[in-house]
Point group: C2
Chain length 368, copies 2
């Protein structure tokens, strides 16, 4: 595609200088901020991610900070998920739903302090939703976007790199576990989380000014582990079934359609936005749902719009992310398929830009 | 800068096909949608915009549709502007403010039908703010993003082109006047508005599927007027003092700081979000305000972050948009300057990436 035009509105991150020095080839814009998408090539980045360790500038996962006596009450309105597990040592993935049960975002909720929460957002201005709820309910909270920028460390050698910098204590973190660890006298909140299935961490950098310092420390310490600058990888995240808000789901889709039913607590439906709609959908059954889809033929073109999924001459769904998988030697894809065609093994056709291709629903657990 | 990576999340528009065929060289991303920024070059586009007529894909000005019996009541909460002038034949520029008087967006409000309003937004997900206000107040309204995409016709020959397609009736529209006009049997809402000072219109296309049809009709009819595909032009919009949300103002800035005081009605401050904060600022005086700034020396580099504005060795503001103006033969800029340094003629220094340059506050009315 064409070049991206620079302006203040498409924000740089505390790590952009490192990303540029590492030879970034393409960006997307995510929460009005630069997110690298390609360094060497999508495929080369993919192989490296699966074998070594990468440092990811994911500062675009902006934080919505909710702070104050009513913070927990406000957050309870946002999501149907049971929040009893949240603590300063455990973060949670929380689907955020509107009054109709439609997805607004699918962030990770972090408890940064006793009365301070960070909602680490996917690509939508959830800040506006949260601010309005605070204003309309006259909640005693401050809602803002703080100067906090996640840096991802992803790949099978993540533990080794992180231990080299932050000490062996980080190895003990369990998935979605978090804690505070020191580097050169500066304490940082670190979680075992991230947008890959290769294992890894997210460091919540507080204070943009410290960004490049942290970047250089990690790059230097990572040399023995073949560290590189990287980014969320299209192929790997599809293999792993990691959904992308704005690609695989939008506000048009309910949390249940997105296959996120395990994060919907029946007991909480009376307390959150969209609870009634979710209860109705739970009783009636969902009309469509996210599925892993295998698409035949050679490598598919870039999926930059929804590709129609057909069966018996009728449209029964759409593919929203797709890529050729070198490891699985097939085109891996994520799509929304209607209830009559979502069983594993169902044969489908997908109208890709270059041709109509044979496809099939694979299994719920994706590939990765 | 680097390439922009294609995905469904960075949405195409109903006119992207035309934009690509016209040789677009760069895009920005605006409301998670492609917005062209350069065709021939910023300078060549600029000269053409000022002398002929251009067709602009500004579909990224998404609409927040508010429809229903409580629509007007809800909209009254959003803005401090007096709304008595809004009608189906008159749209209004409305600053939208949060509970602290901070800017959330600066859209144009269009009344599409008796109980249907379109808020034609700048670059922030105002949909979330409006949806939350509807949900929290249990207003009887539907809030959604409809399939409505503005197409801009801008430049001194806009009237001629529009009259050729929609009839001479469009010539009678006054600034911010709007009405419905036919093309090939299809009625379209048209306003005399747009993001340039060269005159022009915005056509609110209803139904993406009709996008390229409209594009081709306008391109064909525009041949006698040297029509080209164009886009908001960085130089021209700075000359004209047209602010860019996310560049020149953010949620950190109040409506008064943005120099938008003329859209703040004292009588409405009891009825909208942020009214108390605005009243306090009106009484105490603003601490900083948007100013036109002239920057010395040769053409400035790209302004992709806030440039410090200095006086007497102290930081007294920032420049957020800047470009060399071929017509005014100086660097034109927009910045925020503190109250002790905002008078016309005040000498300043601006720390541009290549050097510290002499600068001065020019006048409130900008150049264009």
């Amino acid at each position: 595609m064409a070049e991206i035009f620079a302006s203040r509105r498409v924000r740089h991150t505390p790590f952009t200088q490192g990303v540029v020095a590492a030879g970034v080839k393409a960006y997307t814009v995510y929460n009005r901020m630069l997110l690298p998408t390609t360094f060497a090539s999508i495929e080369e980045d993919y192989h490296h991610l699966k074998s070594a360790v990468q440092i990811w500038d994911v500062a675009c996962e902006r934080q919505v900070q909710v702070k104050g006596p009513d913070a927990r009450r406000l957050i309870g309105l946002l999501t149907p998920r049971d929040l009893s597990m949240i603590s300063e040592s455990r973060c949670l993935y929380i689907p955020v739903t509107d009054q109709n049960g439609g997805m607004l975002n699918d962030p990770v909720l972090v408890q940064a302090a006793a009365d301070t929460y960070w909602i680490s957002i996917a690509d939508s201005d959830l800040l506006m939703w949260v601010k309005a709820i605070a204003a309309c309910n006259d909640f005693n909270v401050e809602v803002c976007e703080p100067d906090v920028s996640p840096l991802g460390i992803q790949g099978p050698k993540s533990d080794d790199l992180m231990a080299a910098v932050f000490g062996d204590g980080v190895r003990a973190l369990r998935p979605f576990g978090c804690g505070r660890f020191d580097v050169q006298g500066r304490e940082m909140l670190i979680a075992r989380s991230g947008y890959s299935k290769q294992g890894g961490f997210e460091i919540y950098l507080e204070g943009s000014v410290h960004g490049m310092g942290l970047w250089h420390i990690l790059m230097e310490a990572g040399k023995p582990f073949d560290v590189r600058a990287g980014c969320p990888n299209l192929i790997e995240r599809i293999e792993g079934g990691l959904l992308s808000y704005g690609n695989d789901m939008t506000n048009e889709n309910t949390v249940l359609e997105c296959g996120l039913g395990k994060f919907v607590s029946a007991e909480r439906l009376g307390e959150c936005f969209g609870g009634r709609a979710m209860r109705e959908e739970l009783e009636a059954g969902s009309k469509q749902m996210i599925r892993a889809i295998e698409i035949g033929g050679g490598p598919v073109p870039v999926c930059d719009h929804a590709w129609p999924v057909m069966a018996g001459g009728r449209r029964v769904g759409q593919v929203t992310s797709a890529a050729w998988s070198p490891d699985f030697k097939t085109n891996v894809a994520i799509g929304m398929v209607d209830s009559h065609h979502w069983d594993a093994g169902t044969e489908l056709k997908v109208e890709t830009p270059d041709q109509v291709r044979r496809a099939a629903v694979v299994r719920e657990e994706f590939w990765g």
